[in-house]
Point group: C2
Chain length 323, copies 2
């Protein structure tokens, strides 16, 4: 996702946001600084704050360069980063974005406490806009992410997970933060609730599509392009949309039994055969596309400008990414 309008229209603001974030983690405790700096400077596409910036431009171009808004957009990235720190502790992950994870390099205690530290900074940054609704949204995001993470553990290895339950899980895991990013500029500009709801709907669609493609890539990507292991979800007994659509498409008992057994056995080759035979990857991508398309359509109440063009690009980039 380089050299496109979505990035071009947000690059300057992201430089500023990176500075805002690094300023926040300037603590007298050296190890904490090192750990936070390691995580924050080790890549990441900053897609959530970029998304907030582009949504701001759709509503009001002057907001894009507003300093208080920048702090709130930085808060979204910090919140996301804090959850990654804690997720890596919970999953005992050794790698993050192809580099050693914080828990791996600095120990669990630094990763747990570092996450707490960043969560606190989320609110410090969010206070600059002086709007309680923003702080409530950040708290709702954290509690939703936590509920999602724990629900996902409960769902593990549930071969009969429904499509509806899957969408509940990915909302709580991923889409919530895109929803918050999309709504932020609307709250800051005090626009009507009806319009806020359209922004929310589009944010959720983008988040859903982002996660669906993530789940698809876990079956289709090569390890080289993805920068992490593939087949992870199966390894961790996570039932995702490709498997759900595949199971929906099978209509004879023998196939169904064989497919369920393949999931239990973690037989990736056999599973991929079934996925191909049932066109389940295409069905996933079609679903993602149609969700985005419907929600984007409703943004036509906002005037056309280059930020809307950038969103149109984003719609395609999300579906077509291979990493």
């Amino acid at each position: 996702m380089t050299n496109n309008l979505f990035n071009k229209l947000s690059d300057n603001q992201i430089s500023n946001i990176n500075k805002i974030i690094l300023d926040q983690i300037n603590t007298p405790v050296e190890m904490l600084n090192n750990a936070c700096a390691h995580l924050i400077t080790s890549g990441g596409k900053r897609i959530r704050p970029r998304f907030a910036i582009i949504m701001a431009g759709l509503l009001d171009k002057t907001l894009v360069n507003d300093e208080a808004f920048a702090r709130t957009a930085a808060a979204i990235e910090l919140l996301h980063t804090a959850t990654l720190l804690h997720d890596d502790v919970i999953d005992e992950s050794q790698l993050r974005r192809g580099k050693p994870s914080t828990n791996n390099l600095f120990g669990n205690y630094v990763a747990v406490l570092g996450g707490d530290y960043l969560f606190a900074k989320v609110y410090t940054l969010a206070l600059y806009n002086n709007k309680n609704i923003l702080l409530n949204e950040f708290s709702r995001a954290v509690t939703t992410l936590v509920e999602g993470e724990i629900s996902q553990m409960d769902n593990i290895a549930d071969i009969n997970l429904s499509e509806k339950e899957y969408f509940k899980v990915i909302y709580a895991k991923t889409s919530i933060l895109f929803e918050v990013a999309a709504k932020l500029p609307g709250y800051i500009l005090d626009i009507d609730d009806d319009k806020i709801n359209l922004l929310a709907e589009y944010g959720i669609a983008i988040g859903n599509a982002f996660q669906i493609v993530d789940d698809v890539l876990d079956y289709t990507a090569t390890e080289q392009t993805l920068g992490k292991d593939i087949g992870n979800d199966l390894e961790e007994n996570k039932i995702t949309l490709p498997l759900i659509y595949c199971l929906q498409s099978l209509d004879n008992e023998k196939d169904i039994t064989e497919f369920k057994q393949a999931i239990k056995d973690k037989n990736i080759k056999l599973i991929n055969d079934f996925i191909k035979k049932t066109n389940s990857i295409e069905k996933c991508l079609t679903k993602a596309k149609s969700m985005i398309g419907e929600a984007f359509q409703k943004l036509n109440i906002f005037n056309d400008n280059e930020y809307k063009d950038a969103l149109l690009e984003l719609n395609n980039l999300i579906i077509n990414r291979d990493y």
Copy 2:
């Protein structure tokens, strides 16, 4: 600390605060509810919110029963509880207040995520007073607690830890939350900064004394009265005030060498002999008493009332507790 004025003047408000807290953890995720409820209903003296209530009464009796204030006082207890959850994960503690810890009963992932959940609720509750300064204070408390926890890890086994460094550690670990509890009512009532500073100073003195007595009890208590293992600090290589005062009091090289070796060897019997010989426990308690006394003296600018009497009681209770 039962049947005293400090508790009597805060009991009704604490019942309300317990309800406020339980309302906040009413999530659709059963395991998260169970884990939070386990922690919150499994005892705890609620000393921090009680302290905030009594300080409120010192300033303005009507604040004591104010609902928005109650939510902010509840936030202090939730913040404290969230840090306990994460501390137990980091220390791999199996017991908390004599009962199985949350990580022990529900697993690390529930304890880490449960802590995150409670941190988010701190801000939800703190927003009711509609004062940014309160949210900033809560964020400062979290970042200070984190910095303190990580610094303490750095200081471990540093036999030459100075008294000054010790007080920095216990401020960040304990006194910060008593400071915030003491200042909260002042911020809500918009009193002058000079007065806020006196409240802060007294809160810090109470917190320091509380922690000094904790550190003393680790050497003097019986396991039965304390409800947890004694000698823990030595076991964990934590250098606390009894050891610092003891080392300060020794004036011949032979004793100093022998004492330092005893710390390295974790020879609790020999250490206790040195502590007795140098009256280090008494020196610790004298220090705690004088810190509280000086700070309390300065509260004489506030009118006498039963809440001030309760604080006078608290001053003694903190020093004389045996658990």
